[in-house]
Subunit: 1000 residues, 2 copies
């Protein structure tokens, strides 16, 4: 059994043998090894830097008084920085695990998307958490930015969680039981200080003292920076950071402070980074060009792989084409997106390149994106093209070609004798017929392929080498084969070839392909299923079969299935179990843990109750499956122990007691904390409730629910798993003895959470849900945070759409503008009329989308929204009624006559109608009918009322326009007539703007 | 070549294999690995604890802007704690060096006394610095106290200086050039931060901010302690300590603050220690009884050593006796002291034990103390003893023994028939003659020997194991042989045997002795010279021979020779050299460096100029001497580079510019800084100068010299080597262009520094030397710091003796009391008359010692001191004159007659003399002679004057006592006669108190 200290010693030795510098923990309390200057400074600039060290990492807020088996305010990281990327950092990492006795062929070791960002350090990177049989043991990141500066040379950062690895290797369940050495457990060494640090951070630390320290540290950091002192300045920033963390643990960081703290620390870090870079620059970057890491052992031999497939021989002059883009593990979503992009791109690109082809297959796994084209022609067809030259009269003098003709022929590469004269655009011109020979497909593809790769777009891309190419994750190999031949091209420093790589559990061996046609079968022989559809189907089938064997079924969850499909290359499902006692936790919690942390499939019985089992998909075959299962079961056990701890901690107090703690959770800097927001909900909700006609009792419930709505955000369970917000609020409200209506409303006020989600069942829930959204919209628009094309960090689209769905779905007529105005009254900042108007318009925009998606015609939607956009339910009703009118007989006539009234008066000022001037009968009849109609419809009338009322006017209008000259010579006469028509046109005002309709 | 990181990795692995826990550097800035809780806390209490770790150690004041090759504000320690003492910690340490490739048989590795104390941590220990070929590479300490608490179980603390070891292993001269790994030097990694930290600490840090931080850290430490939080409290103390160090480097710590800072930090540390102990106590000391370190490899085989000596066979019934006390390296002074004690003790002890013996030899080296006795009897002689019993009349009734007699006989173990009656103390008593058989010497010795060892006293002793035995350094083996047989005894957990140990370079092999007589020769065969006289002589001879070979000689320095003798067991001298360019430094500096740091012998040419060579004494034979020389030369080179750096730094400014910096050097807490003291010297010196009759020009020089006297204490050179105080002051004064008289006085004011040292040559120097001592005596007595029997931390004995030597040596009549009173006027604290009186008496006490040592009779000294003790030069003169009188003819008569006058009047009140009442001629003659004498002598007269004047009175006094009845009936008559005699007796007043003389 490896002791904790032996793990460290072995990792030090392993990385030393790789050629890294071995460094020491830092002399300040840091939150992570990243903060050690050996990382945060050395990753800057162009110089190579490879280093490994232990780092005790302090996160006061994570303290659990040593009561939790694997969460504590201090833990040990083992940090490795490789800069530049040595080309095979994952392999080197996997070999380091082997140095600890963890063999990749016996375990399920996976690289699962996880990106990283530090607001204090102004740093971020993309990468993975590494899973060992389901347990996160390492953070693996391609560092992109530090100190707010883009890294000249991206660095690989590998951060081992030493306790996690030791737990696994020692087979114990609590860090406190780990053997540190032969004589002492981890707990024996560290428990006392852990408890003391927790007491200090949570209970004892003097807030005023800490604030004062922060101020002094910051001031000294500034002094240092004014003198360009790098490391002393960093030290003070680290002290600021730790002091901030203590203040935070102590619950003493208000909302506005938090953002300001981060901003200040980030600003200081940036200055440190700049000062460091300047110093290295002055020194002339002395390490540039130094040798980097020692080469690792050479990859396994690369035998030419014999054809495995009995694919039908290609048609003459044709061959299958394969492009495989080899990558480090892509995020699951990126796999789908890249495949979609390739599917969209390739057919057109081949056609445009005049390369005839058979069916196109686009395949992919986390480690490879592949385009496979059947029967691709080996050569473009030849092409003839007519090129227009100078006018004939210039080109030929007396039938003989002039210098102009000769020049043209030469420029086109044809003989002057081949020039012809043709009539073009009404003139006589010389033309040449150019014959372009088709190029070999291999040549054409070689030109095209780099563009295909470069054209792939990801939500977030990264650099991994200093040549600046970007991709979702690093590219590591390229296969491009046309038949048996390599299509020679290169991209991002890689040259295409015929060598692909086998799966990770097999050690990613190099595998040379004899021909493109061997691709799929060859990888299959290694257990890699490149076709995602097939993989998805196999996973679904395996999982379903296992679920049935356990007497249950897997609830439908296509998103999870999609994700899992793109997390593995060689799926093998297995059934794990957990202790039934965990079922005491709310089922939502158990399922959330499975899905969020582990991507396991839950198994439900016929009544929909969770069974104490899970289904996980391992990447690899069925070898050593028992070991993998055991590991995964250990992980879920620990996760559930965590959850139980949270649950137990949370339920030691009533839900209401969490409300004050919302003061330390930011809603938005200017809008204050979640506690501030709670206050606003409490003041706005009764107003909304009255609008919705709630009873006094319901209003009481609503007020209570508003008070508690956000409380669960301060519970440990929700802090841990945000997706449980509302769910835990309901649970804890019930346990706290709140009325069921209140508990339900706490849950329901988040509804609908996504497209297709349920709406609140209770009116109290609806009122609270509306209140929450009105506050968010009014507030965030007021402070200028309206969503932009690409950015919607507060989810306002969702909020606005939810508002619409709530009102429409529950048939509630409600003025969004009024709601927003009322919401604005409670805001801590003034909301300009323009801002509120923009918010209302934004909601109307969502309504428009919703109505369009429901199938209403564009013009109908526009017509009703122009007048009823503020009241979604009435707009929806109007759209329905208007839609029904359109196909009716007489509609065209009605619309046409109404339009005549509108059009002739549209550009006129509004006149008062003097009925005495209406003398003609057509005038008088119309006027009389108008008065009758005006008595029937108001701006509150619905479309049916309006149109039904309007219908009798149609013949009168028609007669009016026949009999009456509107634009009479006499001004008074003219204005009276216009005023009459204006009154007619105005009948629709507030109801529908028929002018938006087609045919108007 | 071992890189720096490889050294760390190997040490970790080595100690891990020994069974220590491998720990990590601390997350705070510490001054030493000791401050890591893994030491400062874990050494407390009874539980075993073995740990090893790296510790970057920060000492802002040592920063040199990376300009110095081996001094910097941050360096790396490798810290090992072994608790309890495993019994062979030195061996384990030496094997760790072997793990780094440093073989003890190829190098001179030595354990040189060096004790350690931390005022902040309330901690101390005794031990050594370990020298590798003259270079200090490790601190090795038996930790005795921490947090102000005595350690229940002493701990071994081994602190490797990693840079030093690396310098050696890599053969480079500057730490900045060390290879950290294969690609980077130490300087490349650390130089930037080193320079920045220096700039921060010395120039940039905001003093007010640091002070405020200190206050906050202290307050938080208090809060933590009020809640018994151990490690968080320690963290804040460490922050206090580092902040204090920064303030200190910044020159911002005043005198009174310094002591207060230390006291406060020590107080906090004590509370932490107590809190920690309480927590472990509560936990029930869970580690007690855990297995400790794995056993090291077994010692080399222990062959029975064959007799090597041809010692004469012992007389019949007699045999040589050997006691060898095997120890870890004793301080050189302790060796001498222990040998002296044994020499004083053993003969009497053997005699008292009735063990006849031949010559006694007491030998010793740093590792062994030996008593070797020739021809010790194997058996005590039998002894007869007469024991007094009951009175005869009780013992016998009618000639028959009573029960009393029988009881007595039984109690004495004799037959009742053997009782006799003897006359004792004037009565008849029964007596028994008890015959006690002599016990075997082995038995007697077995009883005695533990007492001999236990009785050895050292200036400072230590415990090393929890059994509580104390000694100078740990005892490791005992040999006790009488002839061929072991004298079985035990002490401090050791049992005596016949196995001694060879020298360290040979690996300290166990060596079994066949007989006591083999001892000296056996060890000699290993190169160990146990006889210190022989060792001393060999060293002297070797060194002298080498010096001559280099064309020079070694200045006489018995103290150094004694010390070196007791630093080695197997001396081998060698000649090393250094670059002649270093001779540009003052010779005193070069020699001080050699002696203080290295215990080298300097070599002078005939003119007394230093040659660029040195002689060092290696412990071991002549093998690999070139390597050892090379190492030592490297060390002295580095030392001289250091000294040059100091010299260069110091001479960048004038000496005067150092004066203000004296404000940060404490003289004594209540008496202020050295700057305060300088101020007092400046005010007192002119007064002293006037007393000494200095010219106005000389007075100017004196004032200037007083101003500069202490300035060199603030120079780097003197900070580094205190012994150069005055020497550097003179040097720097000259370089600063001060008048030669001033420069000389700055040097001379320290004279005489030790018994036999020169006195100042200039009167200005004398005046300043007196001034300095008067201020110290007055001040330190005023604040209650008079020396006690064992403690004289301020060297007041030396100061007082110096005062005496100055006055006597230069023949200056001077009232010490007046001088002290004047000095007191400038003190910042009031000096009570009692205190000043005590100071004066103390000086007189030194004078007494000096006069006695000069050979004056006790009574003569007493007689003159009684009247002239305040003025040493006059007392000395008086003693000389009085001594000359004593042997003269007529002295007894003179003294007798004077005594008669004194004696008869001594107990009387003082009467006024009414001459009119003196009517008898004997009275009148005496009176007339008295008047004549009184006209000759005054209290200022010297003894010769007095006695010469008195001589004519002698016959008159004789006649007076014959003719006159002093105690006449008539009161007036009587009082007149007594008054007359009183006036005669009073002639000596103020001159000499003849009543103190023998025979008076």
């Amino acid at each position: 059994m490896l002791t904790f200290q032996e793990i460290i010693l072995r990792l030090q030795r392993y990385w030393e043998e790789q050629g890294t510098l071995i460094w020491q923990p830092y002399s300040e309390k840091v939150g992570a090894g990243t903060m050690n200057p050996a990382t945060i400074l050395r990753v800057l600039g162009p110089e190579p830097w490879n280093v490994a060290y232990v780092e005790p990492s302090f996160r006061p807020d994570d303290g659990r008084y040593a009561d939790n088996p694997n969460r504590m305010q201090m833990f040990y990281q083992f940090q490795v920085i490789l800069k530049p990327d040595p080309g095979d950092p994952q392999e080197r990492y996997l070999r380091s695990l082997e140095a600890l006795g963890i063999r990749r062929d016996e375990h399920d070791i996976r690289f699962v998307e996880d990106n990283w960002e530090s607001p204090v350090l102004g740093a971020w990177g993309l990468g993975w958490e590494v899973w060992l049989d389901g347990m996160e043991i390492t953070q693996f990141t391609y560092f992109q930015q530090a100190g707010g500066l883009t890294l000249e040379t991206p660095a690989v950062e590998i951060t081992y969680g030493l306790e996690r690895i030791a737990l696994y290797l020692q087979g114990v369940e609590s860090v406190w039981d780990l053997a540190w050495d032969a004589h002492h457990t981890y707990g024996e060494i560290l428990r006392l200080q852990e408890v003391d640090y927790c007491r200090y951070g949570f209970e004892i630390a003097d807030i005023a003292h800490l604030q004062e320290m922060y101020r002094l540290f910051e001031a000294e950091a500034q002094r240092c920076l004014d003198e360009s002192l790098v490391v002393p300045a960093l030290d003070y920033i680290l002290r600021c950071s730790h002091t901030f963390n203590l203040l935070d643990a102590r619950g003493a960081v208000g909302v506005t402070e938090r953002a300001r703290f981060f901003k200040r620390m980030r600003g200081l870090t940036r200055r440190v980074a700049e000062a460091y870079l300047a110093r290295r620059e002055q020194a002339g970057h002395p390490w540039e060009g130094r040798p980097g890491l020692r080469r690792g052992p050479v990859s396994p031999a690369t035998p030419l792989h014999l054809p495995l497939s009995d694919a039908a021989p290609a048609a003459a002059g044709r061959a299958p084409f394969l492009l495989e883009i080899g990558v480090e593990e892509l995020p699951a979503g990126h796999v789908s997106s890249a495949l979609q992009q390739l599917r969209a791109l390739v057919p057109g690109a081949l056609d445009e390149a005049r390369l005839a082809h058979g069916p196109i297959h686009v395949w992919g796994t986390p480690r490879r994106l592949a385009v496979y084209v059947d029967d691709l022609t080996l050569r473009q067809p030849d092409e003839e093209r007519v090129v227009k030259g100078p006018p004939a009269r210039v080109a030929f003098k007396d039938g003989a070609p002039t210098r102009a003709a000769q020049g043209f022929a030469r420029s086109q590469g044809v003989d002057v004798a081949e020039l012809r004269v043709e009539e073009l655009q009404g003139g006589q011109y010389v033309v040449a017929t150019k014959r372009e020979e088709g190029r070999p497909a291999a040549e054409v593809l070689a030109d095209l392929l780099p563009g295909w790769i470069a054209g792939l777009r990801f939500p977030r891309s990264m650099r991994w080498d200093s040549d600046g190419a970007t991709f979702s994750r690093p590219l590591r190999w390229l296969v491009a084969l046309l038949g048996e031949d390599v299509v020679a091209c290169s991209y991002a420093g890689l040259s295409s070839g015929r060598v692909t790589r086998g799966p990770r559990p097999a050690g990613s061996p190099d595998v040379a392909l004899g021909a493109a046609s061997d691709y799929k079968a060859t990888l299959e022989s290694y257990g890699v299923l490149v076709d995602p559809q097939m993989r998805r189907e196999i996973i679904r089938f395996q999982a379903q079969t296992l679920a049935e064997s356990a007497g249950g079924h897997i609830p439908d969850d296509p998103a999870l299935l999609d994700e899992v499909t793109n997390l593995v290359e060689s799926p093998t499902a297995f059934l794990g179990s957990f202790a039934a006692r965990h079922l005491a936790l709310p089922q939502e919690v158990l399922i959330a843990v499975m899905k969020k942390h582990q991507r396991y499939f839950p198994v439900l019985d016929q009544e929909g109750n969770l069974l104490p089992v899970f289904i996980a998909i391992r990447n690899g075959g069925s070898e050593h499956l028992a070991l993998v299962r055991q590991g995964n079961e250990g992980v879920i056990r620990a996760r559930y122990a965590d959850a139980e701890f949270f649950y137990e901690q949370d339920t030691r107090q009533s839900l209401e007691e969490f409300v004050p703690r919302l003061s330390s959770l930011t809603f938005q800097e200017q809008l204050g904390s979640m506690l501030d927001k709670t206050g606003r909900l409490e003041s706005l909700a009764p107003w909304v409730g009255l609008r919705l006609g709630l009873s006094p009792l319901e209003l009481d419930m609503l007020r209570r629910a508003a008070h508690l709505a956000k409380a669960d955000l301060a519970t440990q369970m929700v802090v841990e798993m945000t997706s449980l917000q509302g769910v835990m609020g309901r649970e804890y409200a019930r346990l706290s003895g709140e009325p069921e209506v209140v508990a339900q409303a706490v849950f329901e006020h988040y509804l609908p959470r996504f497209a297709g989600d349920a709406l609140p069942a209770t009116l109290v829930g609806v009122a609270l849900a509306l209140t929450e959204r009105l506050d968010s919209l009014a507030g965030l628009f007021a402070v200028g945070l309206a969503p932009t094309g690409s950015s919607d960090p507060y989810g306002l689209r969702r909020a606005a759409l939810g508002l619409v769905q709530l009102l429409v779905g529950r048939g509630i007529s409600f003025s969004v503008r009024e709601g927003l105005a009322e919401a604005a009254r409670a805001l801590p900042v003034p909301a300009t009329p323009e801002a509120l108007d923009a918010a209302a318009v934004f909601v109307t925009g969502r309504l428009q989308v919703a109505l369009r998606e429901e199938g209403f015609a564009y013009d109908v939607v526009a017509a009703v929204l122009a007048e009823r956009g503020d009241d979604p339910v009435r707009a929806r009703a109007a759209a329905g009624q208007l839609t029904a009118w359109v196909p009716r007989a007489g509609w065209a006539q009605l619309l046409d006559n109404y339009a005549r009234c509108v059009r002739i008066t549209r550009d006129q000022p509004r006149f008062d109608l003097n009925p005495g001037l209406l003398q003609e009968s057509a005038e008088r009849d119309l006027y009389a009918a108008l008065l009758a109609a005006e008595a029937q419809v108001t701006p509150q009338s619905d479309v049916d009322d309006l149109l039904t009322t309007f219908q009798p006017l149609v013949p009168l209008i028609e007669r009016f326009f026949v009999d009456i000259l509107v634009m009479a010579e006499d001004r008074e006469q003219r204005e009276a007539r216009l005023a009459l028509l204006q009154r007619v046109a105005a009948l629709a005002e507030g109801i529908v703007d028929l002018s938006k309709l087609e045919g108007f």
